[in-house]
């Protein structure tokens, strides 16, 4: 198996880290040195050869070779069996609708928020419960990190280079969650978005950081949703008013309210679509009177249709918490769902 990548001889793993960190080839954290042996094992797990093209970035037409994906996965700390998930994420990133170039280059710092559905979640030990949006599982952490390392090294999304983010957010290190399908009465996100039940899939959204909400003082599903809608309206006024995909992560305690009332994800999407809107004149109250314009009564909805809301079950068993995860910039980047190709 021949690799196209240049190779460097270093004394040990520490020296390898110094080389990578000094050259800006990492996210600032240490890496697992990508030796040929490890990279080969990762490619074998995915049944790929180094030169196989996994995806092509549509604007600059950069070809993303399997070899570079495997190198990034090794560096990030993945295990070889995570490769099918990583490959599906790369294919999703290269979907024209996602607009990878724009979201990576924008001053409005976003990160690919990754939701994993299907049997592979449990097979590779992904976390969907306690601390769901943060550190709890190697698979969650390293799959998300691999995505950043690919954007950094393969697409040259270097801060101050192609990446012009003013602030960015911590999800740019890693931003990956599994859906708690076992603890949910609902259809998985992937199934709602057209993937056959029983198949594994990833859904990605160019997203801001999670805005956590709390309501544990009602059994009325409408009141619970009004809290989430408040966070969406806040985002529309203080960040961006444009309609697009929003992700809504619902913790278990809130989910039980919906289950008791017989509400499906579809019911939730329709309620939020109807309620999540602002008028241009509302901007005046948050210091943006300058952009209200000539039609102050014009209504902007957060979602173009109810289907724009990605409802995700995740979180630990206790606490009336959830999160709104807003889009980078309206519908300029669309959520993409990609089936994970597992070994037959």
């Amino acid at each position: 198996m021949d690799f196209a990548s240049a190779a460097y001889d270093v004394d040990d793993a520490f020296a390898a880290n110094e080389l990578f960190l000094d050259n800006g080839w990492t996210d600032g954290l240490p890496i697992v040195p990508p030796t040929a042996t490890l990279v080969r094992a990762f490619l074998d797990a995915a049944r790929l050869t180094p030169g196989d093209v996994v995806g092509v970035e549509p604007v600059r037409r950069r070809r993303i070779a399997a070899e570079k994906v495997a190198i990034a996965a090794v560096m990030a700390g993945c295990r070889p069996e995570y490769m099918p998930v990583v490959l599906a994420v790369v294919r999703a990133l290269c979907d024209t609708g996602y607009g990878l170039h724009g979201v990576s280059a924008s001053t409005g710092g976003s990160a690919p928020f990754i939701v994993v559905n299907g049997p592979i979640r449990n097979a590779i030990g992904m976390n969907a419960t306690h601390n769901a949006l943060a550190n709890a599982s190697r698979a969650n952490a390293t799959i998300g990190r691999t995505t950043r390392l690919i954007i950094l090294n393969v697409l040259h999304g270097v801060p101050g280079g192609l990446d012009r983010s003013t602030l960015g957010h911590p999800g740019k290190f890693t931003y990956c969650v599994a859906e708690d399908e076992d603890g949910s009465p609902w259809l998985p996100l992937s199934v709602e978005r057209g993937v056959p039940a029983g198949d594994s899939a990833v859904t990605i959204l160019a997203a801001l950081g999670p805005h956590q909400v709390l309501n544990e003082w009602t059994r009325d599903p409408r009141e619970i949703l009004d809290t989430y809608v408040g966070a969406i309206r806040g985002n529309m006024l203080t960040y961006s008013i444009w309609a697009g995909h929003y992700a809504m992560v619902i913790g278990r305690q809130n989910r039980e309210v919906f289950a008791a009332a017989g509400w499906s994800k579809k019911d939730i999407r329709e309620y939020v679509h109807e309620r999540a809107w602002v008028k241009r004149s509302d901007w005046a109250a948050v210091g943006k009177a300058a952009v209200v314009g000539k039609d102050p009564d014009r209504v902007h909805t957060a979602l173009r249709t109810p289907d724009d809301l990605l409802v995700v079950s995740a979180g630990g068993p206790a606490g009336g918490f959830g999160a709104i995860i807003p889009p980078w910039l309206g519908a300029k980047s669309l959520a993409v769902t990609m089936r994970i190709e597992e070994k037959p």
């Binding site: 004394d11 040195p33 070809r63």
Partner: protein, 91 residues
């Protein structure tokens, strides 16, 4: 014992480019491609004034429908009749 590690980067696969001959401004038609960022229109207004003083006769101004995606081919075709095109990038 040393270990051998692989380079994670991809070399840019750039097409070889060469500089076009400098445009003669006197009597020229200049295309101004607006990348739909907030300051571009006023910058191009200023640039138009400046270039008129240098003898530019006509301008073709087009605004991209989306900042972060490529120029639509039909818009590119409209601009292609210009002697030279100024293309805005970034903010």
């Amino acid at each position: 014992m040393t270990i051998r590690v692989l380079d994670p980067r991809v070399d840019p696969e750039l097409e070889p480019l060469s500089l076009a001959p400098a445009a003669v401004l006197s009597g020229a038609t200049i295309g101004l491609l607006d990348n739909a960022k907030i300051g571009t229109a006023s910058f191009y207004n200023h640039l138009e004034d400046l270039l008129r003083k240098h003898g530019v006769r006509e301008f073709i101004r087009r605004r991209k429908p989306d900042t972060s995606r490529p120029v639509p081919p039909e818009m590119l075709a409209e601009l292609a009749v210009a002697d030279a095109i100024v293309s805005g990038i970034g903010d």
